[in-house]
Symmetry: C2
Subunit: 345 residues, 2 copies
DNA sequence: CTGAAAGCGCTAACAA
DNA sequence: TTGTTAGCGCTTTCAG
């Protein structure tokens, strides 16, 4: 591997000159003559010189890298967030290093590993409260800013980027009542999922606001992905006599919506003619399925971008410690084929 | 940030002792006494010391990091590969740094950026031939091994990990003929997609082997994700009189399969009763849709794992340069609800 | 405008 | 068993 000194020697200048040139740094006015600059650049290219970012980082004490910690690497959502983060990093000339938190118990080690890379900041996706607390603690002593994305964790003292659930579920509820629905069931995710519970809570509020009765027997918890659980919860609802049957299913996630659609069909119901079904998140497959899902789109890539902007800002200030805020990024309603007015009533 | 020297001073030992302890390196036999070792460790923990991996990397000239270059960060498949890569990296105590190749034109700069991080190796996912060639060239002069994952690129001189398409499409064809299908249509992806064309080629071969006529009028190219294009290609096929209509649709991808199912329904056909539809890849949503997709599963996470094993092996040997091989990882057939024997014939 | 020299935090012989 | 010393490749004053 060819080094800066090699280039200097070859070009017959000192290392500092080369350093200045390759970083094209202008220390007070124009420091290095166009002639030498050109020569140095030429030699560098000739020799195939690639600056060693690591050495630079140790010399400056600044590493243009952001840590990205998530618990479940595979989740589509985490990936979209990462895409956004990466986009923003690219324009800021930063890099991302992902860390996989396979088990909450190793959170502490993981953060130290991350810190060991002397990251300028940390972006954390969807960590459980306890793991987040650990991350926050370790990061604070190292004075590295962290911002959390996507999972609402109200009493964590860091800045959090989350999609606006208040707005999102209201948007969808509004859409449904606008279409004339009166009996809307809420098909939630797991009982221990904070995002599901949040959506459920807001759903109740929204129902009240829209003057709908909230019927507890139409509010169920299920699972993000297990067909049997969803089916077991949804089928009974749909098997009710038509006058007690929900005319719409507000599902807490797109996968749940798809499983619900399937269940509805098994119950002999057509979607959306007999029952409307809505999703949440606008997953990649939401437009592919039949019927295409009406859903609320969360802009994960934007969330990722915002996250790095914030973490970079914190890193720039030195008062990166105590700041704590929640920024909510707006969602949007995407109406497709799975909702329809219950005009058969 | 507290350093190794700080610890040394505090513990009243030399830096090298601390270095040995924290890396728990045993130079010939037991070098540092349990007593001092314990003390150093204690002090280090007390002071909250975190080793600076960057400094270590520049000192040793070895960086335990792998570059991960992909063209489309969002693709679910790339993500699964990355999950596998990360799993394997974790056990080897390596880290991953992802690089986003937004445009083939910047391939050269991107690789240099990657090389600038002094990565020990590069994993490349699904790059077009020209971009790959550039990567290979830059990497070779830097003597950094690269392995390619997923996209078959026969004449590239690097080792490639790919899923066994020969086996995969034959598996599916076998399933279909076993169920009695005789008129199978091939619904491909874009005409310029190498994986789609590869599957098409093998599909033809497989048909021959199974004694089926291959009917060129039942082999079409479409798009990976655009509903209109797929519909335009599939609808005419399905509109044919029953004796000329395909009884099964071999789709080159899961999304295409879903769009085909939808099209079939619009044509008044039931899936799988009237027409069977198969996917390829086993995307996350393949089991969610209705009917759940029969598809061939590609083990992307395994591919990712294999990739890092290979790149690490190459990095260990110094003859990392010229090696070139294709390792095919087996696929598996997952039969779900979208296929059925054409017993109505 | 350019060079010499002193680090950055850590490792790795080699002495002691 | 431990300390001394000389780097790794780069940046950054400060003189020349």
């Amino acid at each position: 591997m060819i080094t800066l000194d090699d280039v200097a020697k070859q070009a017959g200048v000192s290392t500092s000159t080369v350093s200045i040139v390759v970083n094209n740094r202008h220390v007070r006015g124009v420091s290095v003559s166009p002639a030498t600059r050109e020569r140095v650049l030429h030699v560098a290219r000739e020799m195939g010189y690639t600056p060693n970012s690591l050495a630079r980082a140790v010399a400056t004490g600044k590493n243009r890298v952001l840590g990205f910690i998530k618990d479940d690497l595979a989740a589509e959502l985490a990936m979209r967030i990462m895409v956004g983060a990466q986009q923003e990093c690219e324009i800021a000339d930063y890099l991302i290093k992902p860390f996989q938190l396979s088990h909450p118990a190793i959170a502490s080690d993981l953060v130290r590993k991350c810190l060991g890379q002397r990251v300028a900041g940390i972006i954390v996706v969807n960590l459980p409260d306890d793991a987040l607390a650990i991350v926050l603690h370790e990061a604070k002593t190292a004075e590295v800013p962290v911002v959390m994305v996507d999972s609402p964790s109200p009493n964590a003292s860091c800045i959090q980027i989350t999609s606006d659930a208040e707005q999102g579920v209201r948007l969808m509820c509004g859409h449904l009542v606008e279409q004339g629905h009166k009996r809307i069931a809420f098909i939630g995710g797991p009982a221990d999922s904070v995002v599901s519970q949040e959506r459920k809570r807001i759903f109740r509020d929204a129902c009240l606001e829209y003057g709908l009765d909230i019927r507890e027997d139409m509010i169920v918890d299920t699972s993000w992905g297990e067909t049997d659980i969803v089916k077991a919860a949804v089928a009974p609802l749909l098997a009710r006599p038509v006058e007690h049957r929900p005319t719409a299913l507000f599902c807490a996630g797109d996968a749940i919506a798809m499983m619900s659609v399937k269940t509805a069909r098994r119950c002999g119901l057509r979607v959306p003619k007999d029952v409307s079904v809505t999703g949440y998140s606008n997953a990649s497959y939401a437009y592919l399925c039949d019927p295409a899902l009406t859903t609320v789109a969360q802009d994960f890539v934007e969330m990722g971008r915002i996250a790095v902007r914030h973490v970079l800002a914190l890193a720039a200030d030195k008062d990166c410690a105590a700041k704590s805020a929640i920024v909510k990024v707006p969602t949007s309603l995407v109406v497709r084929e799975s909702t329809w007015g219950p005009d058969w009533v």
